[in-house]
Assembly symmetry: C2
Homo-oligomer: 131 residues x 2
DNA sequence: TGTCAATATGGACGCTGGTCGATGTCGATG
DNA sequence: CATCGACATCGACCAGCGTCCATATTGACA
C-alpha cells in the first residue's frame, strides 16, 4: 500500500511494486478471488441502503451458513467489509473507497506515455536498466 | 463478464453479479492474488516498451525459473499477459485494457445515489425485495 | 549437425483454503 | 430464568496451489 500517485498512470504500471506492496495487495485480490465472496460483496453493495444482514445473504447460495460466515470474515479482514450488530442481526456494508482504492491501482490511463524500445537481437541478460 | 455499464456506478455495485459472472471474475482476481504474480505484472507493465522477456524477470525473485514460468502461464491464461517469441527470448506484455476492465468493475463512483432504508426492528427473514 | 542458452513442461510434495456438521455465543422475548 | 433465533467458531476433510528438481523443447550459432 502507500502508493503515491504522481505521474502519468497507476503505480503498478509506472514502476515495479515492492515485495511489501505486492504482499499487501495480493491479500486484497486474494479476497476477491472467490466467486462466493464476489457475489457477497456485490449483493451487499447493491442492496437497499448499501447494507445487508446475513439473513439476506445465506439464501442466495448453495453453501452452508457457516461457510457464508467464513467468507464474510475473510472479506472483513481484508478491509472490504465492515460489520455492525443491531438487535439480533449483523449488518454488513462495503466501506467507502475500499473497492475504489484497488480500482485506482489497476487503472492504466490508456493515453499513458511509454518509453519505446526496439526488439533486441543481442542477449539482454538480466538488464535492470532499460535499453 | 459481459457487464453493461449503463447506470450510476459499476455493475458490481449497481446489481448483484450472477454466479457465472462471479465465476469468471473470480478467476481474474485469483490470478492477481499472489505477490509474485503482482510483481511480475508490474515489472512487465513498467518495463521499457511495456514488455519484458523472462530473463529480465527471473533475477528479481527468490523463486526458481520454472516457478516464474508457471506464474507467467497463470497470468497469460487469465488474459492478463500476452507472450511473443522473438529469437531465443519470449517477451511478455500486458494487453491494453486488461487491467482497466477489472478497474472499471471495482470503481464505485463516490457520488452514486443509493436508496436509503431505515434499520429494521422486525425480522427481515430472507427478503429478496428491498424494504 | 552438435551444442548451448532460454524457456516450458512434468511429477512430486507440503501447505493453504473452501467446505461441512456440530456447537458456542449473544440478544430478544416470554 | 428459559428458550429461541441469528450468527460465529471449531475441528476435520480434501482439492487446489505454489514450489522445487529434473527434463523436454526451441532457436541460434559454430
Amino acid at each position: 500500500m502507500e502508493l503515491t500517485p504522481l505521474g502519468c498512470c497507476s503505480p503498478m504500471v509506472r514502476e515495479p511494486l515492492t515485495p511489501d506492496q505486492a504482499e499487501g495487495l495480493a491479500g486484497s485480490f486474494k479476497a476477491l478471488g472467490d466467486p462466493v465472496r464476489l457475489r457477497l460483496l456485490s449483493l451487499i453493495a447493491s442492496h437497499a441502503g448499501g447494507e445487508a444482514c446475513v439473513c439476506d445473504l445465506t439464501g442466495e447460495f448453495d453453501v452452508s451458513q457457516p461457510t457464508i460466515s467464513h467468507h464474510l470474515k475473510v472479506l472483513r479482514e481484508a478491509g472490504l467489509l465492515t460489520s455492525e450488530r443491531r438487535a439480533s442481526w449483523v449488518y454488513y456494508r462495503v466501506p467507502a473507497g475500499a473497492l475504489a482504492a484497488l480500482a485506482l491501482l489497476l487503472d492504466e490511463t490508456p493515453g499513458a506515455v511509454r518509453r519505446t524500445s526496439l526488439s533486441r537481437t543481442t542477449n539482454p541478460r538480466r538488464s535492470r536498466s532499460p535499453i
